[in-house]
Symmetry: D2
Amino acid sequence: MREIKYGMVGGDLNAFIGKVHRGAIAFDPKTKLVAGCFSKDHEKNHATGFMMDVPPDRCYETYKEMAQKESERKDKIDFVVIVTPNISHYEIVMEFLDKGFNVVCEKPLCSTVEQALAIQKKAEQKGVLFAVAYAYSGHAMVKHAKQLFDEGKLGKIININAEYPQEWLIDELAGTESKTAKFSGWRADPKVSGVSNCVGDIGSHIEHTIHYVTGLRIKRVSARTDYFDHDLDLNANMLIEFSNGSSGMFWSSQVAIGHTNGLRIRIYGTLGSLEWYVEAPEDLKFTPRGEAPRKLYRGAGYVKGRAAEFSRIPAGHMEGHYEAFANLYVCYLAALRKKLDGKKPSKDDLDFPSLADGVEGVKFIHAVIKSGKNDSAWTTP
Amino acid sequence: MREIKYGMVGGDLNAFIGKVHRGAIAFDPKTKLVAGCFSKDHEKNHATGFMMDVPPDRCYETYKEMAQKESERKDKIDFVVIVTPNISHYEIVMEFLDKGFNVVCEKPLCSTVEQALAIQKKAEQKGVLFAVAYAYSGHAMVKHAKQLFDEGKLGKIININAEYPQEWLIDELAGTESKTAKFSGWRADPKVSGVSNCVGDIGSHIEHTIHYVTGLRIKRVSARTDYFDHDLDLNANMLIEFSNGSSGMFWSSQVAIGHTNGLRIRIYGTLGSLEWYVEAPEDLKFTPRGEAPRKLYRGAGYVKGRAAEFSRIPAGHMEGHYEAFANLYVCYLAALRKKLDGKKPSKDDLDFPSLADGVEGVKFIHAVIKSGKNDSAWTTP
Amino acid sequence: MREIKYGMVGGDLNAFIGKVHRGAIAFDPKTKLVAGCFSKDHEKNHATGFMMDVPPDRCYETYKEMAQKESERKDKIDFVVIVTPNISHYEIVMEFLDKGFNVVCEKPLCSTVEQALAIQKKAEQKGVLFAVAYAYSGHAMVKHAKQLFDEGKLGKIININAEYPQEWLIDELAGTESKTAKFSGWRADPKVSGVSNCVGDIGSHIEHTIHYVTGLRIKRVSARTDYFDHDLDLNANMLIEFSNGSSGMFWSSQVAIGHTNGLRIRIYGTLGSLEWYVEAPEDLKFTPRGEAPRKLYRGAGYVKGRAAEFSRIPAGHMEGHYEAFANLYVCYLAALRKKLDGKKPSKDDLDFPSLADGVEGVKFIHAVIKSGKNDSAWTTP
Amino acid sequence: MREIKYGMVGGDLNAFIGKVHRGAIAFDPKTKLVAGCFSKDHEKNHATGFMMDVPPDRCYETYKEMAQKESERKDKIDFVVIVTPNISHYEIVMEFLDKGFNVVCEKPLCSTVEQALAIQKKAEQKGVLFAVAYAYSGHAMVKHAKQLFDEGKLGKIININAEYPQEWLIDELAGTESKTAKFSGWRADPKVSGVSNCVGDIGSHIEHTIHYVTGLRIKRVSARTDYFDHDLDLNANMLIEFSNGSSGMFWSSQVAIGHTNGLRIRIYGTLGSLEWYVEAPEDLKFTPRGEAPRKLYRGAGYVKGRAAEFSRIPAGHMEGHYEAFANLYVCYLAALRKKLDGKKPSKDDLDFPSLADGVEGVKFIHAVIKSGKNDSAWTTP
């Protein structure tokens, strides 16, 4: 099997999401981190490189230097992972695309719809393999949900109810005697975070996961967004019309006490329904019409096909967030190896969030914020 | 303790809801069913009367006859329970109000906002004690939820997410090869059911239960209603603005596979949150800000106050739908006994769904349907 | 339908279990409480009689007077409910049996195995209809569990794990700074309670419920009982060999923090398994071999047969402890009406805990206590 | 940070547990697999080495050659991971101990108590750092359970109920028309598996996890083991007396339909109780005496101390089996780095399952099997 070399922009030792990407990639023993620009801070950059066995001369001071110098090397990186703050995604992505690098970029892809379309155009021109890191669709049982839908087990979708509540910013509300300042700095600053906080950070995961399972896109959204005296949204309720004409609701919040990381999707069809909850990611509630609800477990004999392929360890030995991320890379690396070998990736190889998904996510975020500012007027992404 | 005599309109032996009312009232050993017009069918009427030990001469052929004749008796009924199909509530209620009877009426109160206001006016003129049978607020742990809110344990409400999905009409959708005709006859006929099916039948329970716990009313609603080729709604998604300016969403459905009777309310405040689910009615999830979620059980030592008063049997011995209904009557009968004795009912005696709640419910139903027909325009009840 | 008249011994207004029996019987509109000896205290006795509309001359001072005088009446009671403290069951039951009355007696039936056998002999001689109030087997989904077993859905039973933990006596343990004296008076006194506290009070429910579902009896028990410096047991762990040779474990406790009333039964066979939990009594977990676990709900279309017959209200409208008790009486009263009419009760009419079940319960309690005192030696009930 | 080099015996590409060890170790970026004897099959051995970038000359044909040649190298491995079938642990461990290597060995440690004691003696002589891979105590919330116990939050332990049911061997029972042969070959052969199948494989995890949290050892066990016509046990029920005199029950099974990997521990004290379930490893049910049960989540602000240190990613992003395994190695590698640097590992560094734990596990297994063969006689490990 071909060894894959990669680089990373962002993701110093203290950054949670960089660590997750590296851990996820490490499930593939034939990959190697060989270059990086982990931090603008020289010391942090090199400390991270040292811990990761990246040679000092491939710990670059700037992403531009990295893109340039790597592109000149014979043993250059095969792809780059971009895990910097949202606002910088666009310029970094464009730089690496210019040099023809394959890219994995954190979500949201970028700050504006115009940027998203520019990235999409450039990536197509360069013919690179591009993934956007919506990791929840990497969970084996989300793949099984998609499989059940594809097999027609749900019939026609008639209603969707999905949500992503968290509680971690509740202290930021006036009157709650905030002792922390979690919602401050770049996160609370529209100049850095872009048009949205909560919808951009977690709401877009709802949109992606629903699309992944059902193939449906958002036709229109009518949103009510809550700012609680901040410049960016902390809570959003959304009425949805899907591309097939069916109805639904999304809710994302970072001020919902009692929820740690509550992504939950519920999909109702004419023949069956599904419920999946990220805090119990290994089981999937499935109810066929007229029958009793059942709990399908990853790894069980009755869970065949795609989910079984993504099952590393026996049923009941929990696979979680790292493994979902790893599954994204299982596909991306399979496709990349074929591309590098001059072969055509299969449909299964391409079972990772695409650039089109990233573009759709940016459109969705903007539509929600726009509707919210417009007294919940129906808005098309 | 004073014995209370009551009559019933509707509720023959085959009618589920009449049986529930009689069973709920029977928890009070000093009440007696003494008159009725249980069915328009003479035989069914008398068969029911016989089973309930109602004397044949007080099994009336029509509700008008019943109202008239009972009003002429010295030992007349103390109150009447009206459990007929929705469309007939108005005329029956008005007839008994005219004669000055105290009334318990099934929900929804009536078919139009105009009727509701007329009933309200007449009831005030006559000075009767009037209850509308929203029974879910009778559950001990819903009362405890209200108590926690009243004590300030939730702080200011910032978001509410509530729903009432059921699956029992799924067979009525085109393409599902319906073998039943559950959604037919009076239920599917706007002339009998009024403007709404699903929102009227179960959506109004969401509105009432939320109001009961928080005191909030609906300022505006933006709804998407689904008819699936029927004359009346089977599914509705609603964006809500509450009277305190906070946001929320309601969802009611009778075509959501996997749900039997899934009323669930989730209330988020600045200091805490609550979750209650009717299919596990004896526990209440409560999360104080910054602390772990906890499960409060009816009957436990830490559940004091109102919920404890409504606890008949020790913790863990489930009380359910009958007992919730019985709790409505515990209050109604306490208030009625005081009224009949010329005393003033206390605030606790009046802890049952009032005529004002019934009026608000009718307004809510009409606002939702109107918004749905108007491309989800914000609509004020 | 024949009207049934009954009397009660014990069960004054403050007694929880008397109220439950009366409430359960009241679900049958053609029954009437007409006599009683509700308390040794004259005033309490008459206050209870007044509330229940029992004529003063049928509120007896002693149970002996009641048995005698009722037996002399033409309109005598059709059956008597005995809800006094355990120690008195034997003499009261024998008195009413002597006079030929049909009996419903609270569990445990009596204090010793000798007494149990004497009751059984006398009841057979007199040909009375006798029930022992193990109410948990009245839950619709326990009946469905039995039906699934009877239909062979579990195959051969190979293991059973059942438990009944409660927490309410934890304050009685040394070192816990008891502020209450819940475990005192008659309950903690072997002279009144008999040989056992915890096993007698709740452990016997485990034994009965398992027997009800599977038909299995206890062949041998090896028990470890914990007294924590009291005269009677507060906790018991039991290794079981069932009559079919299979293995299992029972646990009953009144000092298990975190459990209110946690009766849970889990039955494993070669073809399927069942799990039922009294605090969510309306659903039954059923896993067929090689398939996903499913949740069967009372009232759902796929729950047919016996459980459906015992379903008063639609799925998802919870029926609880009162209704389970009522189901015991549904059967008992059906059988009694046939007996009084000179007909033979059907097998379904007799679907209530029998005298044989009561005898087996007493044997079980004694075997557990004996094994516990004998270093867990295997002991045959 | 010092780079650590390790070798592995067993664990070819198809072996599940070898992959888990490598994945778990890979969470530490400064570790490297440099030697191995992954399979007795030459091709499998080298294929695995190739995938893992192990140089061909360090892919050894036999574990003896590996121990010998590695011991002669200057850049020899720092520790060896032994993941071969149970029966071979003893001889392999002894070989590497002889050469002075630090060892991580899969559980159970070995086949007999005599072997266990011999390993213990040798390891002490050689002064090596030895871990036995009971990974469940690596879960952050199990560490938090231990912390709550250590802080006195449970008071004195009075009862423990723990179990580990699985369903995967149910097809092996007579009468179930087995289509597989999962329980065959080495697993079902006492010559290879040792005295026990089910108790050895999973029952010993119960014993270890309980010991880890409470520090309690097994004083005596009274067991009933079920063989179902096989040579080794498939199901075991165990009555336990703990070293503090308290009671409890363990149940392990591989024929319990409906359970995938159901390790569950419940610990009851005089001041509080804990419940932890491996299939929802990120939350811990904790009930303080007299209060409501609460759900503690890994990563939440109220979960401080040891569990927080082992939290890689934010609350609600599930960490599972790999991460638990990784936590074992976090400690082992910390201790190993100190040892190699001539420093003394701290108590926290040594927070991994020790050789003493491995010895105790072997004793436990033998005591259970012996008791089972002796009609459940109390047996001391």
